[in-house]
Amino acid sequence: MANGASPTRAPWAFLIISLIVHYLDALWRYGTSAGTHWDLWAGAFAVYFLIGWYAMTQPAFDHINKKGIFVITAFAYVWGPLWSALPSFFPGFSAYAALFLVVAPVWPAVTLLTARAEGKMFRFVSACYVTLWIILLLFSLQPQIQEYASQQSDILPGSLTPAQALTYALSSTVEATTGFFKVMFIQAPSRMIDEAKRSWAAATGDYYTGQVDAAAQKRLGVYLGQLRPSESVFYANTPVSVYTTITAETLDKPLTIRVSCDATPQTLPVIILGTTIDVPTIPVVLETEPVPATTIRPQDTFEVITADQFDVDCIWSKDKLRPAPYTIKLKTDFDFSTRAYKKLYMISRDRLREYRRQNVDPLAQVPDRNAPAIYTSGPLRVGIGTQQEQQPNALVQPIAIGERNEPLPTWGITLQNAWEGKVLEITDVFIFIPEGITVVDPEGAKAWAKADCKALTEEEQVACDDALVDVYRLTQEELALSWYRNLTTKTIRVHVEASDPEKILGRAPLAVQNFKANVHYRYGLERSLTVSVRNATTT
């Protein structure tokens, strides 16, 4: 058994041979049955017998007796068919069957985990293997991996070809790795930065909250479904097609949605990973320019009047994409608007003082005295509030109205991206101030310009009355600032004063007023997908 070799020598040759045997077995025998492919099954039996015999010659396996080696050999022989059969009894395993088949071959696993061999390299490879296994197991628990697996409807136990299994493992690995890197190095830092910005703004009293209209029956905006490939494998001489479903809902105002698609060859590390596993079909492509889709069906611009749902196909004609893995992106952008309001209760300052002295609560019967700003459903969160609200136990409502031209608490409007897409551009911001209150620009900051209801869109004009509100518009100079591009969080401050207290208060003890804002913006949503385009097939 010792065969004259050093008992501590690393069984590199055995490892490589057992790996080759495993993958060849997976390629040929996986998904077949012994009855129909008896030759394959008999051949595999002979090969695994040889592997077992070879193992017995390895000093690294001296600690395993012959019976043990026989059991491992038998297990290695049934490992592939086991993953064909197991999901039939345990459907939950179907998504991971191919993954386990590929990443956990029995003999290589036994070798790397149990072989008694010296040498730093062998221990390093063993450690890498264990790490890879743990990572893949963790990935397999991720919902996006499970979702990916469930989408591959053609990957079913018993119908899997070894090539499909390998492709699946490859795409799972690429997807998982890409997803992991995206989450770890792009999304998480981005969220952290956003959260840090928001926290900083809140800490400095520059963040005003709002609440989406909870009673709204309709979820307004544009929603993209998962982007899916029309085929599991694409070839260079066939069109490449991906599709998704766009759902859009709007009220009153028609919504125009623009769609674009492009395919970008993946960068080097991924290509190497791809080519390593799928060398015969995927050569290295170094171009990284995105290739726009040749056709977007049914069209690249949609107009939604109220609610609609449509399927969009992005197609690259044959030979448009060269053999390589591609990241395909479907982008939509649309003009949208969010309206927000904050209810205000106003009272004469002298009267409020009197109430407080008498320990009378003028809002005792008002059910929503401290209601936050409410904004309409959509991708932008619009919060409205006063600086006073930032203080703990602040008595914010009712707002005391004093003498003419006396400054009122400064208002803030916080715009915050609420969805996963991008606020590409803020195109217009209108605020509606109760009559009798005037916006002032201290120190000559001309952020707000007086406008009127006619400046609004036709749909908005029906809810605007110049006799009741003063309309102000954020100036184009202000909107041209970089803050309003790819916005995550931005607070716009509004300095106001009571120019006509009598108009504000009216003829009742309590004046019920409203501070409103309309924000118009262009929003972008994106879905991406990795596909592999292979060399043209002739069969």
Binding site: L220, S337, D350, A463
Partner: protein, 306 residues
């Protein structure tokens, strides 16, 4: 047979006597001078509707029920609402009313109904709902009249035997048919500088037992407007007390009602009364003030969704 007939007649006569005895109940007059309510506000059922469509009218019916004993000759009301989302004509939003109080002829009190026709305005794009607040305020002058049987005991020496009454504090927990009530009366006799006279003194405890706020009677109209009333406009009550036909001197008057704790007013006959033993006498306390009540509701303006 004769015996039987006589027996039956006797039984019937006896039964008749028993029924006659039951009918001796006299007609009881309703007790109207109790309670702690003034004008109570309520919305008529289904009014305003909890939900209305934008650009549509709706009616809000408010019932003003005078559940106290004081007649209101000139009550006023005003309405607070969100003008950006609701419209009601200014003539309807503010108004006056008269409503009689409880009496033995109308023990349940009178009521008035105010109908306000609102128009829900357009919500604007993307908005599906707006909860609009409507507050209805009523302000009125009111009077509390509290008759109290006081025990006047001018016998300091205690020589008199078999006194008709013993002076002791009286609690009046049921109220006097008005939101501000005399909660209790304590009495004592103070010596006068003249030997045959005593000074009766009454300590009145006043409380606002209603759900609204007390304002100074002359300023009740302003209370329903947005104007300030001034420091002395709130919780001021004018107090007057009569012992039989003698007007007592009350201090302080007007009195400022404390929000917490008891508000005490001392009323006494400064000139004193003649010491003539122990007897009961009618003490009538009258409180004059303005009162403000508010009722609120929320109407959800919704967009008819397809």
């Amino acid at each position: 047979m004769k015996k039987t007939i006589i027996l039956v007649v006797l039984v019937l006569m006896l039964a008749g006597c028993r029924f006659m005895g039951e009918r001796k109940d006299t007609l009881q007059l309703p007790e109207v001078n109790i309670g702690t309510q003034g004008v109570e506000l309520s919305f008529s059922p289904g009014s305003p509707p909890p939900e209305v469509y934008e650009n549509s009218p709706f009616t809000m019916l408010v019932t003003l029920s005078n559940l106290g004993t004081s007649d209101i000759e000139e009550g006023v009301y005003s309405t607070s609402y969100d003008k950006q989302y609701l419209y009601v004509s200014p003539q309807q939003a503010i108004g006056r009313y008269r409503v009689r109080g409880k009496s033995i002829f109308m023990p349940q009190g009178d009521e008035r109904q105010v109908a306000l026709r609102f128009d829900a305005k357009a919500l604007g794009p993307q908005m599906q709902r707006y909860p609009a607040l409507i507050a209805f305020n009523t302000c009125y002058p009111y009077t509390t009249t509290a008759p109290v049987i006081a025990c006047i005991d001018t016998d300091f020496t205690g020589r008199e035997r078999n006194k008709v009454c013993v002076p002791q504090p009286q609690a009046l927990p049921q109220g006097q048919g008005a939101p501000v009530a005399v909660a209790s009366v304590e009495q004592r006799m103070l010596p006068h500088e003249l030997p045959n006279r005593v000074i009766p003194e009454f300590v009145l405890t006043l409380q606002n037992k209603g759900t609204g706020d007390v304002v100074s009677a002359p300023l009740f109209r302003e209370a329903c407007s947005g104007r300030p009333l001034g420091e002395d406009g709130w919780n001021m009550i004018a107090v007057e007390a009569m012992l039989a036909d003698d007007l007592l001197t009350c201090t302080p008057t007007p009195v400022k009602l404390k929000k917490q704790g008891d508000t005490k007013v001392v009323c006494r006959a400064q000139d004193g009364i003649e010491a003539r033993g122990t007897y009961t006498e009618l003490l009538t306390v009258t409180l004059n003030y303005g009162y403000i009540n508010t009722i609120t509701t929320q109407v959800n303006i919704v967009k008819p969704l397809v």
